[in-house]
C-alpha cells in the first residue's frame, strides 16, 4: 500500500509540497522524478551552486511528450525564429516565462556548460528573455529547446514569433534630450549666478557679456533639440484646430527664449535662459516619469500568441510535424494532451475532453464523439485524439471572429485628458490678461508695454498642468503595479475617474478555471472513495486531478484491467472490485440520457451496483463579497458570460439580485453590448480573461484582463490584474477618483504661483532673478506635492 503523500516535506528543487510523490536522492527530497532529474543534471555538471542563490529556485518540469519539439527540425520554421544566422553561427532570442530569480539568470547564462555548442548566453529578468549564440555545426535549435525544457525553462514559442520581424531597438532619444537639457540647465544656472549675486551688475561688462552669450550658446540645443517635440505637437494641434496642452507650453518656452535673446542682443539684461532650460528639463522629466510601462507584460496580444507553431500530421508514411499555417482541409492531425486544436476539424478517434473556456467562456469541457465538430483554440484535456481538418487555420470559425474588423481596430474614442481640457481655459486667460495689461500700459507708460506683456507670457507657467498629471498618474501606476494591477500606460488611470458601469465575464474572471469543487450525491464510504480515486488516477482527464485534490489522506489501491471508453467513462478492477465511473447512460442502461444537466455528473458503479454520482462545480473566487457590496453601491454591475450554465445561485448572490446576468453570450453579443453602451455615452469597464472577451475588452471604455498567471496569454487590453487582487477593485477605483482630486489640487497650487508671478509681471517688475526663483520652485513643489499626495491617497485606500 503506497500512501500518496510526502505531505509537509518541501521539494529541494522547486519548493513545492511533495504531496503527490516523494522521491529521495542524494540525501534530498524531491516532489517528482522531474525535479530529481534536473537536480541530477545540474549536480553532474557541477552546477550545484544553482541552489545556493535562492531557496528552491527550480521549476518543476512538466511531463512532456517525446516528439514535442520535432517542429524545430523544420528549416523554414528555424529561419523565422532565428534573429541572425550565417554558416557557422546563429543567434536566437527566447521568451522564457519561468525566469523569476537570480538562480535562473545564473543557470541560463552558464548553459554552455551543459551544451558546448552554445557560445554565449545572456538572460534578462524584466523581459524574461534569453538570447543565445550557438555554433550551428555542433548543436541546433531543437536540442537547445529540449535542454531548456528538461531543466524546467521551456521557452514559449507561439505563432506570433514567426510572423513579425525582430525589432528590439529602444528609443533612447528622451534620455538624450533630458541629458542635454539638464546639462545646459545646470551650467546656465552657474553662469547666471555672478549677475544675480552682484548688486549693481558685474563691474566688468566684458565678463557679463561673456557669460550671457555662453548661456545663449548652451540654450540653443535645448530649444532646438530638447524642446522640439513641444513645438511640433503644438503646431499639429493648432493645425487640427484644437488647443492641447502643448500650445501654452510651446508659447511659454518660445517666449522665454526669444525674450532672452532680445535682452542679450540688445544688452538689456541677462535674459531668462536659466528658467527656460529649467522648464524644459522638468517637463521632459515629467514625460519620462509618465512613460512607465511594464516591460514584462504585453497588452497587445492577439490569437497568434496563443497558438502553437506546429502540430503533428498523419501521412501515409507515418507522422510528421507541420507548421499549422500549412494545414489544409482533409489533413489528418493528432492533438495530444494539453495541446491546442489548431484548426476546425471533425473528431475521428480518441477520448476528447475539450476545454473551450478561453475561447467561448464555456466552463465545462465538451466531450465530442466521432463525427462531431471541434473548433480551433480548444485545449484537449484527455489523451491523444485524431482529427480531420475542415478548413485552414485562418478561416476557422473562431479565428475569423477575431480577425473581424470590429475586434481589430481600436474602438476607443478621443481621450481628452483633464490637463488638455484645462489648458484651453488657461491659454485664454493668459491671453486675456496680456491684452488687458497691454491696454493699461499703453495709456500709462508705453515704454514698459513690451516688457510687461512679454513678462506675462514668460511667467505664465503651465508647468503644473504639464507636471501634475504625469507625476500623479505615474506614481499611481507604479503603486498599482506593486499591487499587481498593471495598466498599459498611466493615462488609463484618468479614464477610470468617471465610470458608470462595470461588466464582468464569468468563466476564469469570477471563477477559478482550475479549481472546481466536488460534491458527492449518494452513500460513499472512505473505502469507496479510495477505490474511485485509485481508478481515476490512471486517467489523464483533469477530473481525476480535481478528484485527487479534494480527497486527501486516502490510501491508494491496486488497479488492474484499466480501460477508458470514449464517450462513456473509465473502468477497472480495484482491490478486487470491478469499478466503473462515467456517464449516467452507460451505467444505467435503462435510463435515458437526461437533458439539460447543469453540470456534468459522473456516476459510480462498484460491484455492478450504482452507488450514486459526484458532480463538479466551478468555484467562485474567494473574498469578493465585500468588494461587490461596495461596487454595487457606486456602480451598475452586469455579468456577461459565454457559459451555458443557466442556474447559479452563488453567482447571483455574489453580484447582487438586481445585477443582470446574461449567459450564452457569444463574443459578438458582448461586442454589441459595449457598442450600445458607447452609443448611449455610458462609460464602462470590462473585466475579462479569454479570447472570447477580446472584442469586449477593446470596445469598453477601459478593458482589463484578469489572469492567474501574469506570464500566460492575455488578450489585448488596457490593463492586466492578477486574479488574486480582484478583491481590491473597489479600492483601486476609489483611488483613481482621489488621483483626480490630487491633480486638481496641484493645479490650484500652480495657480497660486501664477498669480504671484503675474502680479509681478503685469506691474512691470518681473526681473530675471524673480523668474529664475519662481519657476523651479513652482515646478519642484508641484512635483513633490503630486507624488506625496498620491502616495498618501494610496495608503488611505489601503493600497500599500
Amino acid at each position: 500500500m503506497k500512501i500518496a503523500t510526502g505531505e509537509g516535506i518541501i521539494c529541494y528543487h522547486c519548493g513545492q509540497d511533495c504531496r503527490d510523490d516523494l522521491v529521495q536522492f542524494d540525501d534530498k527530497s524531491f516532489c517528482c522524478n522531474g525535479c530529481r532529474a534536473v537536480y541530477g543534471i545540474l549536480s553532474e555538471a557541477k552546477l550545484g551552486a544553482y541552489y545556493q542563490k535562492n531557496e528552491a529556485p527550480g521549476i518543476r518540469p512538466p511531463r512532456v511528450s517525446a516528439g514535442r519539439f520535432e517542429y524545430l527540425d523544420n528549416i523554414d520554421i528555424c529561419e523565422k525564429l532565428l534573429e541572425y544566422s550565417d554558416e557557422n553561427q546563429a543567434r536566437v532570442s527566447f521568451f522564457i516565462p519561468q525566469i523569476h530569480c537570480a538562480s535562473c539568470i545564473w543557470l541560463l547564462e552558464r548553459l554552455y556548460l551543459l551544451e558546448p555548442g552554445i557560445q554565449q548566453a545572456i538572460a534578462g529578468l524584466p523581459r524574461r528573455r534569453l538570447t543565445l549564440i550557438f555554433d550551428k555545426k555542433s548543436t541546433n535549435l531543437r536540442k537547445i529547446v529540449e535542454l531548456l525544457a528538461s531543466l524546467g525553462y521551456e521557452p514559449k514559442i507561439t505563432l506570433d514569433d514567426i510572423g513579425k520581424p525582430r525589432t528590439q531597438k529602444r528609443d533612447w532619444s528622451l534620455y538624450a534630450k533630458i541629458g542635454v537639457a539638464g546639462f545646459s540647465f545646470a551650467n546656465i544656472m552657474l553662469f547666471s549666478l555672478p549677475e544675480y549675486l552682484s548688486h549693481h551688475g558685474i563691474s566688468d561688462s566684458h565678463l557679463s557679456i561673456t557669460f550671457r552669450y555662453a548661456s545663449l550658446i548652451l540654450a540653443l540645443p535645448v530649444l532646438l533639440y530638447s524642446a522640439g517635440d513641444y513645438f511640433r505637437h503644438a503646431w499639429a494641434g493648432l493645425k487640427g484646430r484644437f488647443i492641447n496642452l502643448n500650445v501654452p507650453l510651446a508659447l511659454g518656452i518660445g517666449m522665454l527664449f526669444f525674450r532672452s535673446l532680445y535682452d542679450i542682443l540688445f544688452n538689456i539684461g541677462p535674459g531668462y535662459l536659466d528658467s527656460f532650460s529649467g522648464l524644459v528639463f522638468f517637463l521632459l522629466l515629467g514625460r519620462l516619469f509618465q512613460q512607465k510601462s511594464f516591460e514584462k507584460l504585453s497588452f497587445d496580444r492577439d490569437y497568434k500568441s496563443y497558438f502553437p507553431i506546429s502540430c503533428v500530421k498523419k501521412t501515409k508514411s507515418g507522422e510528421t510535424t507541420v507548421p499549422i499555417t500549412r494545414l489544409r482541409p482533409g489533413d489528418r492531425i493528432i492533438v495530444r494532451n494539453q495541446e491546442l486544436i489548431p484548426a476546425d476539424s471533425i473528431m475521428i478517434s480518441g477520448n476528447a475532453a475539450i476545454d473551450y473556456s478561453f475561447v467561448t467562456g464555456e466552463s465545462q469541457p465538451q466531450n465530442p464523439i466521432s463525427g462531431q465538430r471541434v473548433y480551433a483554440g480548444g485545449r484537449q484535456l484527455g489523451g491523444a485524439i485524431e482529427l480531420d481538418v475542415i478548413c485552414e487555420v485562418s478561416e476557422s470559425y473562431l479565428i475569423s471572429l477575431w480577425s473581424d474588423q470590429r475586434f481589430v481596430s481600436p474602438a476607443k474614442g478621443n481621450t481628452t485628458t483633464l490637463a488638455n481640457a484645462i489648458s484651453k481655459h488657461f491659454t485664454a486667460a493668459i491671453l486675456a490678461i496680456a491684452v488687458v495689461t497691454a491696454f493699461y500700459w499703453l495709456n500709462h507708460d508705453p515704454s514698459k508695454l513690451v516688457f510687461a506683456v512679454t513678462s506675462i507670457l514668460v511667467v505664465a507657467c503651465p508647468c503644473a498642468l504639464a507636471l501634475a498629471s504625469p507625476f500623479v498618474l505615474g506614481t499611481a501606476a507604479r503603486i498599482w503595479g506593486n499591487n499587481r494591477f498593471f495598466v498599459r500606460k498611466p493615462e488609463i488611470i484618468e479614464e477610470l475617474f468617471r465610470i458608470d458601469k462595470i461588466v464582468f465575464d464569468k468563466t476564469g474572471t469570477l471563477t477559478h478555471i482550475d479549481k472546481q469543487t466536488v460534491t458527492w450525491h449518494g452513500e460513499f464510504s472512505e473505502y469507496d472513495k479510495s477505490l474511485i480515486l485509485s481508478l481515476a488516477r490512471h486517467s489523464t482527464h483533469p477530473a481525476s486531478r480535481i478528484l485527487a485534490g479534494s480527497l486527501t489522506n486516502i490510501e491508494l489501491r491496486d488497479v488492474s484491467d484499466y480501460s477508458e471508453l470514449p464517450g462513456k467513462g473509465v473502468q477497472g478492477v480495484v482491490d478486487g472490485h470491478p469499478v466503473k465511473v462515467g456517464a449516467e447512460s452507460w451505467l444505467h442502461s435503462n435510463k435515458r440520457e437526461s437533458t439539460q444537466i447543469a453540470a456534468p455528473r459522473s456516476f459510480v458503479a462498484i460491484d455492478e451496483k450504482v452507488y450514486g454520482y459526484f458532480q463538479f462545480e466551478t468555484t467562485l473566487r474567494n473574498g469578493l463579497d465585500k468588494t461587490f457590496e461596495k461596487l454595487r453601491a457606486r456602480y451598475d454591475l452586469v455579468v456577461l458570460t459565454g457559459d451555458s450554465n443557466a442556474s447559479s445561485a452563488p453567482l447571483q448572490s455574489l453580484v447582487g439580485s438586481e445585477t443582470p446576468v446574461a449567459t450564452r453570450q457569444s463574443p459578438f453579443d458582448k461586442l454589441d453590448y459595449f457598442e450600445r453602451q458607447r452609443h448611449e455615452g455610458t462609460r464602462t469597464i470590462m473585466f475579462g480573461d479569454g479570447l472570447n472577451d477580446s472584442g469586449a475588452l477593446r470596445a469598453a471604455t477601459v478593458g482589463i484582463a484578469v489572469t492567474d498567471d501574469i506570464s500566460a496569454f492575455t488578450p489585448g487590453c488596457d490593463g492586466i490584474i492578477d486574479a488574486e487582487q480582484l478583491g481590491k477593485i473597489d479600492r483601486f477605483l476609489a483611488m483613481a477618483g482621489r488621483c483626480r482630486s490630487v491633480i486638481i489640487a496641484a493645479f490650484a497650487i500652480s495657480l497660486l504661483y501664477n498669480i504671484i508671478g503675474l502680479s509681478f509681471a503685469a506691474s512691470g517688475h518681473l526681473s530675471p532673478l524673480i523668474s529664475a526663483i519662481l519657476m523651479p520652485v513652482s515646478s519642484v513643489s508641484v512635483v513633490l506635492f503630486s507624488t506625496i499626495a498620491t502616495r498618501l491617497m494610496a495608503r488611505r485606500e489601503g493600497i500599500a
Binding site: 533612447w172 538624450a176 566688468d204 561673456t210
Partner: protein, 60 residues
C-alpha cells in the same frame, strides 16, 4: 578676467565630456535593463570547476 574665460571654457569642456559619456551609455543600451546587472554582480564564477570561458558577445 581672462582667467575666468579659460575657466569657463575648461569647465564647459569637462561637463561636455560627461554629457557625451552619458549619451554614449544610453546609446550603448546600458539603460535598457537595470535589473539584471544588479543580480549578476553577485555571481561568483569560482564556484564552477571548469576551464570553459564564455566568448565575447559580438555586437550586431
Amino acid at each position: 578676467m581672462s582667467v575666468v574665460i579659460i575657466l569657463l571654457i575648461a569647465s564647459v569642456l569637462v561637463a561636455g565630456g560627461f554629457l557625451a559619456a552619458f549619451l554614449w551609455a544610453v546609446r550603448n543600451g546600458q539603460y535598457d535593463d537595470l535589473e539584471t546587472p544588479s543580480v549578476r554582480i553577485l555571481f561568483d564564477d569560482a564556484e564552477i570547476i571548469s576551464d570553459k570561458k564564455p566568448s565575447s558577445f559580438p555586437k550586431e
